[in-house]
């Protein structure tokens, strides 16, 4: 640098426009900015500088507040991680129940503090393992569960009153929730002590993840059944984790993720209210699940905006009065879709940075992806690095020692507000055009997501968006830096044999009677959960119970939108 530049420093500007016309303009004449426009990953504009002028419309008392108080912008707990760090909750599931139970124990041995379960596709879609469409899929992307006996093996030696466990299941969630209850009771856990979460957010299945069985309207009523049942019987259990994760990974922007997810939460609570269940009866146990993408600040602001907007929706739109109804409690996962198959070691860095954003955003629990997940179920070595990443963040960096450290940043507060405003407008648009179910059936939401996904792909292919190792800093392909994950080739046979053995030896009359009760409850518009628990207890299968409701509700195929 020319030392003469420092000899005559510019005069301090009185305001931003003066600074822009003097100091900034002089700098731009010498060194222009590197691109015409800067935007967030979701396409929102990023200015060169944020100042007090950008937060002039934000009322600190009304919009930011204090942690543990409405509108919860700064966090749902007053002390956040100073009292207790976030829960390290890695999702795991493959093979049979014994295989996944082994992975659970491996994770707990390495310092994981909560469990989360992935089920295989037949379980998610309500098919038993010996159904023809199920056979090639058994245990491939999650654990195979046909009967409560599988869940006993899955949770073996896991104290369900101490370790909170999440089940990633949606269309057949009502069955798995019943199985979880039966297994917890058999461990001696009282119903009111049972903790844990069921994903059970069917609406995002129709828009993003596509693992649905029944048409959307009755499927939402099944979700309400589980909310009512949990609130009545298992008050510490979270029966719904409303999920933006899959919406975002399917290609949505942060604004769309916020809008479609909070609108889904609003839909469940208002549908419950139509059945006479007060918002404060069900909403305190509605939790959320977010995707944490690569735009560091946007993701932090997304979580802050989600808390504020959910609090406002619950308090002002729905009329909830219990502060627990206003709190947007969240699980986060680093973005699976951001993992690259090329140069997979780089995924460790991506995941660490995304994890940091989730923590600075105030998540309650976190899954960090493993570097090999663009190829396979994570290998033990890769998943250990993912757990260690969270431990380094919790124990070495001191980011957990202060609540909402970025609160008050001009940029962060401004972007938080922008995300809230944009997503609120989209939620209102959804409600104006008939609500979630209508916007699923006519493909409106799917089209929005597909368009965002295509726009991102075009940006990558035009090199406007860079992915290190994919379209920039590319290297010749090298041997993969992880062990191949191999499933036991005999697992399908073992699973089918076990299920068929149970079908032969169970109390047949009780199974038949319980299944009739499930069907009658569904036909009569009654809560199916008591009958489902009875059927599960009699060793009825996931497929049999889901078939009862197929007979009542029918199946569903969504509109083909791309």
């Amino acid at each position: 640098m020319d030392p003469k530049d420092d000899s005559n420093p510019p005069k301090a500007s009185a305001d931003q426009s003066t600074w822009q016309s003097t100091t900034l303009a002089a700098s731009l004449r010498k060194v222009p900015v590197r691109q015409d426009a800067f935007t967030t990953l979701s396409g929102l504009p990023i200015k060169e500088l944020y100042t007090a002028e950008d937060v002039a419309g934000i009322d600190p008392a009304r919009d930011i507040g204090f942690p543990g108080e409405y509108p919860y912008t700064r966090g749902v707990h007053p002390t956040m991680y100073r009292a207790r760090p976030w829960t390290i909750r890695q999702v795991a599931g493959f093979g049979t129940a014994e295989d996944t139970n082994g992975r659970f124990k491996y994770l707990l041995e390495h310092g994981e503090t909560g469990l989360s379960t992935d089920f295989d596709l037949p379980t998610l879609l309500g098919y038993d393992s010996d159904h023809p469409v199920a056979v090639p899929e058994i245990g491939k992307i999650g654990v195979a569960v046909d009967t409560v006996d599988d869940v006993h093996l899955l949770m073996k030696d896991i104290p369900l009153d101490q370790v909170s466990t999440s089940y990633t299941v949606n269309a057949s969630a009502f069955v798995l929730m019943g199985m979880y209850e039966v297994v917890a009771k058999s461990q001696g856990v009282r119903l009111e002590q049972i903790t844990g979460t069921c994903q059970n957010d069917i609406l995002k299945e129709y828009t993003a993840q596509n693992e649905y069985i029944y048409p959307p309207a009755p499927a939402v009523q099944l979700v309400v059944d589980t909310m009512e049942y949990a609130a009545t019987m298992m008050p510490r259990y979270n029966p719904v984790s409303v999920s933006g994760y899959h919406i975002r990974d399917a290609g949505a922007t942060a604004v769309q993720e916020l809008a479609f997810t909070l609108a889904a939460g609003h839909c469940y609570v208002t549908e419950a209210a139509k059945r006479g269940l007060a918002p404060d009866f069900v909403a305190p146990r509605v939790s959320f699940f977010w995707d944490i993408q690569n735009d560091f600040f946007e993701e932090i602001c997304k979580l802050r905006a989600a808390r504020r907007l959910w609090a406002r929706i619950m308090k002002d739109w729905v009329g909830a009065k219990d502060p627990r109804s206003w709190m947007m409690r969240a699980h986060c996962q680093t973005a699976g879709v951001s993992l690259t198959a090329l140069q997979p070691d780089n995924n460790i860095a991506r995941t660490a940075i995304q994890a940091l954003a989730a923590i600075l955003g105030g998540t309650q629990s976190l899954h960090t992806n493993s570097k090999d997940e663009a190829y396979q179920i994570p290998s033990e070595g890769a998943i250990k690095i993912a757990v260690r990443t969270q431990q380094i963040l919790a124990l070495e960096t001191r980011v957990a020692d202060v609540v909402d450290p970025l609160g008050g940043s001009y940029y962060v507060e401004s972007l938080t507000t922008r995300l809230e405003e944009e997503s609120e407008a989209l939620i209102r648009r959804l409600l104006d055009r008939g609500g979630m179910v209508q916007s699923i059936e006519d493909g409106f939401i799917q089209q929005q997501i597909a368009d965002s996904s295509a726009a991102f792909q075009q940006a990558v292919e035009a090199n406007r968006e860079h992915i290190v190792g994919v379209n920039i800093h590319v290297e010749p392909e090298a041997p993969l830096p992880f062990d191949q994950f191999v499933l036991d080739p005999g697992l399908a046979e073992r699973q089918i044999n076990r299920t068929q053995g149970i079908r032969r030896s169970r109390p047949q009359a009780e199974v038949g009677s319980a299944l009739k009760e499930v069907e009658a409850a569904a036909r009569g518009g009654k809560n199916v959960m008591p009958a489902v628990v009875r059927a599960v207890n009699a060793h009825a299968t996931v497929g049999e119970i889901c078939d009862c409701l197929r007979g009542v509700f029918g199946g569903y195929r969504g509109p083909l939108v791309y």
């Binding site: 596709l121 037949p122 998610l124 879609l125 098919y127 469409v133 199920a134 090639p136 899929e137 491939k140 992307i141 299945e205 993840q209 596509n210 693992e211 990974d249 399917a250 290609g251 879709v337 993992l339 690259t340 198959a341 090329l342 663009a374 190829y375 396979q376 179920i377 597909a450 996904s453 295509a454 792909q457 990558v460 292919e461 992915i467 994919v470 379209n471 993969l480 191949q484 994950f485 499933l487 195929r557 969504g558 083909l560 939108v561 791309y562």
Partner: protein, 132 residues
Amino acid sequence: MKPPVRVVVAKPGLDGHDRGAKIVARAFRDAGMEVIYTGIFQTTEMITRTVVEEDADVLGLSILSGTHLHFAEEICRHLREQAAKEVLVVMGGTVPPPDIPKLKAFGVAAVFGPGTPTAAIVEFVRQWHQAR
């Protein structure tokens, strides 16, 4: 001039991950090809029937559920038995590299992993079509 390439894009099995399939279907469509997207939950029989009835030149399979070997073997065999002409079968999704030679032995012409530009997939199909 040859008629436009007819491409079926299909999601076999129970896998719901359709972001890649939709992106590739859109890229084929934007490249002027005639695209039939089957949607999700397709069996081998359904996919084979669609290819035959639509008189498709190309079948693109997208699988992210670990069932790629099963469906590639079955679908390629059914197409050889039932299709009146040679159908180019290409695949995308999460495929561990050791499985790629096995997929090619079943009859899959190319496997496009995550990160493949859609332009490369379109170009592969176009060159195959021109060479026929």
